[in-house]
Symmetry: C2
Subunit: 407 residues, 2 copies
């Protein structure tokens, strides 16, 4: 088998953990597999580099930031190669330029365009474990780009797809995908299997187990994904197309505190205003999540509210301010003390009662709902940040997610 | 003018110094010059990375070590680009792969083969200050190589030669090249000018101002070198072909404590033995410096002593031990408490009295000489490490190096 494994920064944070991972990698090879490993930067390396940059320039160019950050993964792969060699194994480290991982040109948030498999295949044929820098690529100028936070997951899945790997194992510091965050909801249970679509909703909701784009990519190329714990022997959670074995109404509860709400007050109630606002946000590369547009009042004015990630708040507010005259609103309000809570489940689409059970759980717990957004397999509501953990426990309880109940 | 500047690790060790250097670079550009800058890794970054590697593997592969160490310079150039941008300037960072600095394949001690000037020239034409990672290149496999300690000087001179630069400024933390180490010899005087050959002897003697290979390269391609202080406005020392202005008998005293002496006792006195020993050292990439071969004794046995850098001692002893039967010596002795002191001067070749003045100075100071080695413009002796600072002062005094005396 050809296996692609990905280890996150916390799994390689210190020499002890590096050796722990080295042994896992070597065990996979010893079983007769070809092994390609994608590594993130060690522990807090990336955060440290960002802090170093900000000390020098509060608004560093994205190109130079990528040039700086890409060094973190390069250090990881080199150190892992040394660890494997020390244990008697044979490994070689490769960065994005050496592999030939080409991306779109936009720095800090590039997308993988093509992966050259030649060098990797040659090294595998030579009996090497191949260690590849996650999170990065090179664009058409030969300049380093990064794939955005959590991009190493995407690197791993893209490599698995390009190499036609039999399996892509994403190692993290938890046993797999849970019905809720176990640190918040004591009864949270690990799922053995979950569908791409459910995982996609969970990933985009800040469940932090897998990077959203990596799941999209896995679905697109039908890559068999497994989320596992690098510190335990748990079999993890398998992410795949069909999950008939355990098709639940609701498979998990996810929360996300990294949310800001922006409200534009007193917008003229003419067609196309909402479109203009969200085109502006798209231009600034700000992802808009829940949108609430109220009906116009007597003066033919309306309010539009939407949520974005907290890291984008400054950019969004600045862009709105700059286009104030053009967009024609009275004032902007914003609120960072909000959070999202969502339930996700492939069985939800055909069970109209789920939404009301969800709202009932929140009502019973005395939690106020600000905004609501729904998709075929997800319902998200915006609540006060202080309420969100309590909300997760109440909802987890309501849907009895602590016990297995196949339907 | 096209100027290549090189700043060492201590010149960019913290944000304050980074900004200091950024201002110097921008000043050079503001005077109407095209500026290409070579940077080393910040402060103790390289040492830190080496320590990190050794923690994982005491004998890491050279390839992986280069992969690891190359990240230090990449961080430097990215941070400098951010600093220049913050000050309103325009700069772009490039690593060895992006420039196209190709080297021989041997890791940790590669030599530059070719530099592609296209990308740099394009960026200069776009009005950019071009920041290039020192110390590194890529070999024919596309893998990262490093040029050995101090290799950033070599990178700078090679770039200056490839770009046909008008001048190559090497910035360091002293005002230029001195007649002796000012920390040891209080009367040491800065030289305004020195010849390539003299500088070459000083560099190879551990004067630590310039990397030896960089001077060789500067001489070969006739690159105008200037050694300057990044913290002061001193004009520095110019290194060039002819130094008629200040042609001194002795231009400087250099000392080097990083020396080990190895003695092979009781070698059979047959032709070719010395050759075999030094071929072995060359195979292990150990540079041998002073060699002393005594005349054979009654039993037709002889002793051979030679000096090497302390960092090579383990490798050398291990190699000798492995080849003991073949080389046929009785035993090996080694001594790390020795040091070299040398005088260098282009005027020395035609003045036979210099050597005796040198030895007289040491004799008067009561310093014992272990070994002697001479070249056309240099005389080196091996003394006890404890004596070497005193020896430097005595010799500096003897040749009245504190005062300018052109001849």
């Amino acid at each position: 088998m050809l296996i692609v494994q990905k280890y996150g920064g916390s799994s390689v944070a210190n020499p002890e953990r590096v050796f722990n991972v080295a042994k896992r990698i070597m065990a996979a090879q010893a079983e007769g597999n070809d092994v390609v490993v994608v590594l993130s930067a060690q522990g807090k390396t990336t955060d440290g580099l960002i802090a170093k940059a900000k000390e020098i320039n509060p608004k560093p160019s994205r190109r130079e930031m990528d040039m700086l950050l890409a060094t973190g993964e390069q250090q990881s792969v080199a150190l892992m190669a040394m660890a494997i060699a020390h244990l008697g194994g044979k490994a070689i480290s490769l960065n994005a330029a050496q592999v030939g991982i080409t991306t779109t040109q936009n720095y800090s948030n590039a997308r993988i365009r093509h992966i050259n498999t030649e060098r990797i295949m040659t090294e595998l044929e030579n009996g090497n474990i191949v260690l590849v820098t996650g999170f990065q690529g090179i664009n058409q100028f030969g300049d380093l780009t990064t794939l955005g936070r959590g991009g190493s997951d995407t690197s791993a899945v893209a490599l698995a797809a390009a190499l036609d790997a039999d399996i892509c194992e994403i190692y993290t510091d938890v046993d797999g995908v849970f019905t809720a965050d176990p640190r918040v909801v004591p009864g949270a249970r690990k799922l053995d299997v979950i569908s791409y679509d459910e995982m996609l909703e969970l990933a985009s909701l800040g469940a932090k187990v897998l990077h959203c784009r990596s799941v999209e990519l896995a679905k697109k190329y039908n890559v068999k994904l497994i989320v596992r714990n690098s510190m335990s022997d748990d079999k993890g959670t398998e992410v795949k197309e069909e999950c008939k074995m355990e098709r639940m109404l609701v498979s998990g509860v996810a929360t996300d505190k990294n949310v800001s709400r922006i409200s534009l007050i007193g917008i003229e109630n003419v067609p196309g205003k909402a479109f203009e606002i969200f085109r502006l946000m798209a231009k600034e590369k700000v992802s808009v999540d829940i949108i609430l547009q109220d009906v116009g009042n007597a003066e033919n004015k309306q309010n539009i509210s939407f949520t974005i990630g907290e890291e984008d708040l400054d950019i969004a507010l600045k862009a709105l301010d700059k286009n104030r005259a053009h967009l024609g609103f009275e004032r902007v309000e914003h609120d960072e003390t909000v959070a999202k809570i969502s339930i996700v489940g492939a069985g939800m689409a055909t069970n109209p009662g789920i939404a009301s059970m969800f709202f009932e759980a929140l009502y019973d717990a005395g939690i106020n709902i600000h905004m609501i957004s729904t998709s075929e397999i997800k319902i998200t509501v915006l609540v006060d940040e202080n309420d969100v953990d309590e909300a997760a426990r109440a909802v987890h309880d309501k849907f009895k997610l602590a016990s297995v109940h196949a339907e």
